[in-house]
Amino acid sequence: MKRSKAMELGVGLFMLAGILGLVFLGLRVSGMTLTSGDTFRLEANFANIGSLKPRARVTMAGVTVGRVSAIELDTEWYDARVVMELDSDLEGELSRDTTAAILTAGLLGEQYVGLSMGGDPEMLVEGDTIRDTQSAVVLEELIQQFVSNMISD
């Protein structure tokens, strides 16, 4: 009977360690936050998204405030519609003329969306579209511009 109790304790500790390990993988390794949950949706149309991918970060002043949830082709204007999910704290806090730009982390790093505030007193709400956007910088286009400038000089 006594040995069986020690065994029970061992198995219990083992299972507890497994569950704690899973929690560690969730919180520390995949960076989930327990308070994540409420988000609100914004859309933005870009002429060119470069290599932006779903799940890319959305930042404001460098602080991550959300993620890109979907990217699709808008067949009305033939540009890219980027759907973003932002922390619900920001709902009603972003002015209507907020601008969105696709930026690159480092020279060759991943691309992400950077938001910057405008001054309009009216605020964006769930499902609104950001009008003022700036496309991704495509390296080839830059080089092309540079070369054609050199030739015309």
Binding site: S4, M7, E8, G10, V11, L13, F14, M15, A17, G18, G21, L22, F24, L25, G26, R28, V29, S30, G31, M32, R55, R57
Partner: protein, 260 residues
């Protein structure tokens, strides 16, 4: 000519028959109504296949994480991308190495022991004696071992990943001097809980079922002689390893390969 075709046919029939036996065996024992002392039996097996496998699995995990970080760092540093070390270690452990290596170790450490134990019970006619006194050996002997394996391997896989990631941290950050913030930060931004951790867990559950099933069935189905036991034990390790590696490719192709 006819003879060789007949031999092929016999091989096919035998293979199919043993698959059928193994399937029926799994179904009958895994879904057997648990007996009153079932929980105690399960606990005893959990202790044997889970708790006692912990040491070998954790130590292997530590070394695999460390060697991944060491190799990864020396290659990534050439490209000035040593910040991506955490991402590399975590993704390769969670998606592939932890489920596969833990399952292989489990097959060697616990699977072979299960086969030998049940095989010896059969050889010494303990199983038939149980039937004689009206105890169903599937319920009494096999079911607790199956369920213990099903539960223990995913838990061991989690332990393997955690220790491996910590081992990678130890080498990449503490010894080689990578930046701690980018180790965890890049890891957190690239690892997705459901896609990476979740799929790794699904893999290890599949492997748990396959490895335990093979081990227990080989023990139950062997020829009850000392040679039969040794052959069955070997077969357990060989079949489990092949099944794990083959299934891993199939599961990876389904989960991450973009095949649809």
């Amino acid at each position: 000519m006819i003879d060789s075709i007949r031999r092929l046919g016999r091989f096919g029939c035998n293979a199919l028959e043993s698959f059928g036996r193994a399937g029926g065996f799994l179904f009958l024992s895994a879904f057997a109504v648990p007996s009153r002392e079932g929980f105690g039996l399960w606990l005893r097996q959990m202790h044997f296949v889970g708790v006692l496998s912990l040491a070998i699995v954790l130590v292997s995990g530590l070394f695999i994480g460390m060697v991944l970080a060491l190799q990864g760092y020396t290659i990534l540093v050439d490209f000035g991308a040593e910040q991506a070390l955490g991402q590399m270690v975590a993704l390769s452990l969670l998606r592939e190495l932890a489920p596969v290596v833990a399952a292989l170790l489990f097959a060697g450490r616990a699977g072979s022991a299960l086969t030998a134990e049940i095989g010896l019970m059969k050889a010494t006619e303990q199983l038939s004696s149980m039937e004689m006194i009206g105890v169903d050996p599937l319920r009494r002997v096999v079911a607790p071992r199956l369920w213990a394996g099903f539960v223990a391997l995913p838990l061991l896989t989690v332990g393997f990943s955690v220790v491996g990631i910590w081992g990678g941290y130890l080498v990449g950050v503490e010894w080689l001097g990578g930046f701690e913030g980018s180790y965890w930060g890049n890891m957190q931004s690239s690892v997705e809980f459901l896609d990476d951790v979740g799929n790794g867990m699904i893999k290890s559950m599949v492997f748990a079922v396959v490895v335990t099933w093979i081990a227990v069935f080989q023990g139950y189905d062997l020829i009850p002689t000392s040679e039969g036991i040794s052959r069955a034990t070997t077969r357990t390790v060989v079949y489990s390893s092949l099944a794990v590696l083959g299934l891993d490719f199939v599961l990876t192709a389904i989960m991450f390969g973009g095949l649809s």
